[in-house]
């Protein structure tokens, strides 16, 4: 806080909102829940700014706040959250003319059936492009655990979607 004015921190927070939203959608499978999660994350981050050390990884710090918020909400309202029960999440908003939308919709639904811990590991590594170390920092586990969750998640998705199998539906 000494080296960063609140103003520049504010700009950095705003810059991370798009990726926080995308991570929140992948965790919750629901856009309005996702925006609530981002909102709560921003409020918490702002109130805890003093505990953030400038020069350390702001993205990891914000993502960690978001995923911890998600899991504590999940515990509180388990029965209300359809996502963890494998019920297909809200439909994707696909841009008109997007060629992959059917396949992508199926992929999204398959992703939503994965246990949250595997889904988040796969998203952090596969979509956000984080290292196992950085993903582990966010998830509060060992890099090796992230690695095994990612490979389990990939195997499950490939199984559900019949990727690479003879009976895979023609596209």
């Amino acid at each position: 806080m000494d080296t960063k004015s609140p103003h520049s921190i504010k700009d950095e927070l705003v810059a991370f909102i798009p990726s926080l939203r995308a991570f929140a959608v992948s965790l919750s499978g629901n856009r309005s829940t996702a925006d609530d999660l981002v909102q709560e994350t921003l409020v918490k981050a702002w109130s805890k700014l003093d505990s953030f050390r400038p020069g350390t990884n702001l993205r990891a710090w914000l993502f960690r706040i978001l995923r911890n918020t998600y899991y504590s909400e999940l515990r509180k309202r388990r029965t209300e959250v359809s996502h963890a029960n494998g019920i297909p999440a809200e439909e994707l908003i696909c841009k008109a003319g997007q060629p992959f939308h059917v396949e992508l919709q199926e992929f999204s639904e398959a992703l939503n059936t994965l246990p949250p811990e595997r889904r988040e590991a796969l998203v952090l590594v596969g979509a956000v492009g984080l290292s196992y170390n950085e993903a582990a920092e966010i998830c509060g586990c060992e890099p090796g655990t992230v690695k095994s969750r990612v490979s389990r998640a990939r195997a499950e998705l490939a199984g559900i979607l019949h990727f690479g199998q003879k009976d895979e539906p023609a596209r």
Binding site: K10, W46, R75, A84, E103, E106, F107, P116, T145, F163
Partner: protein
Amino acid sequence: MSNRKNRMACNEPEQKKRSTTQMSIEEPKNTDEHDMSATTIQIDVFASGSGPQLSQEIQDRIGDQLRLLYDQVVDEDIPQSLLELVRRLEARKRG
């Protein structure tokens, strides 16, 4: 999507693993970090030594779709409500 159900039904062992893991995540009492590590151990046991390695082609395909999904949201405009929230937070800090 009934097609999906059929496909998943063919995948009995996968399904069993998945539901076992979910149960420990959703266990109402032990949902602290300790329980998370218990879940982890369970996953690691399943992960070690079973199942063929996915081909690079399939891994790439999964990676492509993950990024498409993720970037779709990243590329959206930030909702005004969130921008407004940051403005309010900043005003509060200054005031």
